[in-house]
C-alpha cells in the first residue's frame, strides 16, 4: 500500500521533469454541451489537456463521462461548443478521421472483433492510414502487432480467437488496439472496470510504463474506481450531472468537500 503510493508519487515527479515548463495544449474543449431529449448529459464543460499530461476524469454513474468521450472521439457531435485538437476544430469529423489525426479511444464495454484472432484485432488498427504510417522501417505489420501485444502482456494469447479470451485480457486488447495508431491523445474509458485487484495492478503499471515510454502522449482516463486512478494521474477533473465541479491534483480533490459530497451523497458527519 505504502509502496504503491511511493511509486505513484515518483512517476508524477518524473512526469513534470520530462515535460519541463513549456507545455503545449493538444486538446482544447470550450463550453461543450450535449443533451439527449431533456437530459443534459454534458453541460457547458471546458478544459484543456497539455501535451504529455496524464489526466483522470471521475464522477458518479451518469455523470456524463462516457458521453464526453464520445464527443471527444467524434462519435457524437455536441449541441454547442468547440473541441480543438492541436488548434484544429474536430467537431463533425468522421470518427475514423479523428483517429487518424491522433485521438484514439477504448470502450467501456469491450468491443473486440470476435471472429478474429487477438493479433488480427490489433492489425485492424495497424491497417488504418495512421497505424500503417507509424510502423517503423523494416518492420512488418505482424511484428508490430506482436510487439504491441507484448507491451500489454497478451503475447501468449496472440493466436487465440478473441471470442475465447477472458474479459480482463480483452480490456488490455482494447488498449493495444488504441495504441496501435500511436495516438497523441489516448482516451481510456473505464480501463479498470470489471477487473480483479491483480489485473488492476498490472494494468496500472502498464499504463504508467506506456506513459513513460512516450512522454509526449497525453492520456485521459475516465474511471469511477478512485483508488486505482488517484495513484496514477497527476490531475483529476470531476464531473457531476454533466457539469465539471472541480479540478486539481488528486490530493486536492480528495479533500474537496463538494466532491466528497457528490460521491457520498451528502456531507460526511464527523463522529
Amino acid at each position: 500500500m505504502n509502496e504503491d503510493l511511493e511509486f505513484g508519487r515518483d512517476t508524477r515527479k518524473l512526469n513534470t521533469e520530462v515535460k519541463g515548463g513549456s507545455a503545449m495544449q493538444v486538446l482544447e474543449v470550450e463550453n461543450i454541451t450535449k443533451s439527449f431529449g431533456g437530459l443534459k448529459a454534458v453541460d457547458n464543460v471546458s478544459f484543456h489537456i497539455d501535451e504529455g499530461e496524464l489526466v483522470g476524469i471521475i464522477g458518479p454513474n451518469g455523470a456524463g463521462k462516457t458521453t464526453l468521450f464520445n464527443l471527444l472521439s467524434c462519435f457524437l457531435s455536441p449541441d454547442s461548443g468547440t473541441i480543438k485538437f492541436k488548434g484544429e476544430n474536430i467537431i463533425g469529423m468522421a470518427p475514423h478521421k479523428v483517429v487518424n489525426l491522433g485521438i484514439a479511444r477504448t470502450f467501456q464495454v469491450v468491443r473486440p472483433f470476435r471472429h478474429l484472432p487477438v493479433i488480427a484485432n490489433v492489425m485492424v488498427a495497424l491497417k488504418s492510414p495512421r497505424g500503417a504510417k507509424k510502423i517503423e522501417w523494416l518492420k512488418t505489420m505482424e511484428r508490430k502487432a506482436a510487439d504491441l501485444l507484448e507491451d500489454v502482456g497478451l503475447s501468449e494469447l496472440m493466436l487465440e480467437p478473441a471470442e475465447n479470451v477472458g474479459h480482463g485480457d480483452l480490456k488490455r486488447l482494447e488498449i493495444a488496439k488504441a495504441l496501435a495508431t500511436e495516438p497523441d491523445v489516448l482516451l481510456l474509458d473505464e480501463p479498470f472496470g470489471g477487473l480483479n485487484p491483480l489485473e488492476v495492478d498490472f494494468l496500472t503499471k502498464s499504463i504508467l510504463r506506456m506513459h513513460l515510454d512516450e512522454p509526449r502522449r497525453s492520456i485521459i482516463i475516465v474511471e469511477h474506481k478512485l483508488y486505482a486512478l488517484m495513484k496514477l494521474v497527476k490531475e483529476v477533473k470531476v464531473l457531476h450531472r454533466g457539469k465539471k465541479i472541480a479540478e486539481g491534483t488528486p490530493e486536492e480533490i480528495a479533500n474537496n468537500k463538494k466532491v466528497v459530497e457528490v460521491y457520498m451523497g451528502g456531507p460526511i458527519k464527523h463522529a
Binding site: T66, N70, F75, L76, F107, Q108, V109
Partner: protein, 304 residues
C-alpha cells in the same frame, strides 16, 4: 384532369388501407421478435388458398355471404396456427442470426409455393365473394366506378388495424409484446415467456396477412396463383421500410404513401399498369437515401 384526381384520391385511399393491413403483420413480427419474415407473402397466398379450400368444403350453407365471412375468419385462424407452428419449428432455433432467419423464411416461402403448385396444380382458383351478394355490385362515386367489395375491404382493413392497436395497447398480451420489443432480456426476467409470445405474434401476423390476402384478392384480381406471394412481399417490405421497421404508425403512413403513389402512376402514366409494381420499390429507395431508418424507425446512435 379533375376526374383523374378524384380517381387517384378514391381508389388510392381505398387501396392504401389494405396495404397498411398487409404491412402491419410484417412490421409486427419484426418489431417484437426481430424476424424479417420473408414468408409474409406466403401467408397472404396461403390465406387465399385456404379461403378457396374451406369454401369448397362449405360451412353454414355454401355460397352464402354468412358462409363466406365464416370461412374468412376460419381461414385466418387456420393459417395463424400453421404459422405459429412453422415459427416454432424453423425460425425459433435460428433466432438471433439475421441472415439465417432470412434464409429460413425464404425457404419456407419456396416450400409453400411448391406445395401449393403440387396440391392445386398450376391453376388459378377463384377467390371472390358469393355472386349474388351485394359486395359484387358496383357503385358510382363522383364518376369513379368502384366495387362494393373494394370499399368493404378498406373498411374491414381499418377495423382490423384498429383492433390490433387495441390489443397492443389494452390487453396484457399487448403489454408483454411492447415490453419484449423494448428489451427482451428484461422482459424475460419479468417472467414473460418469450417463446410463446413470439409464437402468438407470428400467428397474429399471419392472420393479418391472411385477412389482407383474402380481402385484397377478392376485391381486385379475384384469382389466386402460386406466385402471388412475391408482389405482396415486395409491397409489404417497401411499406415497412418506408415507415420504419417495427413501427406500427409507420406501416399505416407508409401504406398510404405507397397506395397513393401506385394509384397516381396507374392513372397518369400510359402503360403504367405494367410497371406499377416498381413504384413502391423506387419510392422506398428514395426515402431510404434521405432517411436511412425510415420515417419512424428506431434510431440508435451509438449502442453501448
Amino acid at each position: 384532369m379533375l376526374n383523374d384526381l378524384i380517381e387517384i384520391f378514391l381508389l388510392g385511399g381505398l387501396q392504401s388501407g389494405m396495404y397498411s393491413l398487409l404491412a402491419l403483420g410484417f412490421t409486427l413480427i419484426y418489431g417484437i421478435s426481430g424476424v424479417v419474415n420473408l414468408a409474409h407473402g406466403s401467408f397472404y397466398m396461403l390465406g387465399a388458398y385456404m379461403f378457396v379450400t374451406l369454401g369448397a368444403i362449405g360451412f353454414l350453407g355454401a355460397g352464402t355471404m354468412l358462409n363466406a365471412v365464416f370461412v374468412l375468419v376460419l381461414a385466418a385462424i387456420v393459417v395463424g396456427i400453421i404459422a405459429s407452428m412453422i415459427y416454432r419449428v424453423t425460425i425459433h432455433p435460428v433466432l438471433g442470426d439475421e441472415v439465417a432467419i432470412m434464409v429460413a423464411t425464404v425457404c419456407i416461402a419456396l416450400i409453400m409455393q411448391q406445395f401449393v403448385i403440387i396440391f392445386y396444380g398450376v391453376t388459378f382458383p377463384r377467390v371472390a365473394w358469393p355472386e349474388d351478394s351485394i359486395l359484387m355490385n358496383t357503385a358510382n362515386i363522383l364518376g369513379v366506378t368502384i366495387e362494393y367489395s373494394y370499399i368493404a375491404a378498406f373498411v374491414v382493413s381499418l377495423a382490423l388495424f384498429g383492433t390490433l392497436m387495441l390489443i397492443i395497447t389494452k390487453t396484457k398480451m399487448g403489454k408483454a409484446m411492447r415490453a419484449v420489443s423494448q428489451d427482451v432480456e428484461a422482459a424475460m426476467l419479468m417472467g414473460i415467456n418469450t417463446e410463446r409470445l413470439y409464437m402468438l405474434t407470428m400467428g397474429l401476423s399471419a392472420m393479418l396477412a391472411t385477412f389482407a390476402g383474402i380481402l385484397i384478392t377478392s376485391s381486385t384480381t379475384k384469382s389466386a396463383g402460386a406466385w402471388m406471394w412475391l408482389q405482396p412481399l415486395a409491397l409489404s417490405f417497401a411499406i415497412v421500410i418506408l415507415g420504419g421497421l417495427g413501427s406500427i404508425k409507420g406501416s399505416l403512413i407508409g401504406g398510404f404513401i405507397l397506395g397513393y403513389a401506385e394509384q397516381t402512376v396507374k392513372t397518369t402514366v400510359p402503360e403504367g399498369g405494367a410497371i406499377v409494381g416498381v413504384v413502391p420499390l423506387i419510392v422506398m429507395v428514395l426515402v431510404l437515401l434521405l432517411r436511412p431508418k425510415g420515417l419512424f424507425g428506431k434510431r440508435v446512435e451509438l449502442e453501448e
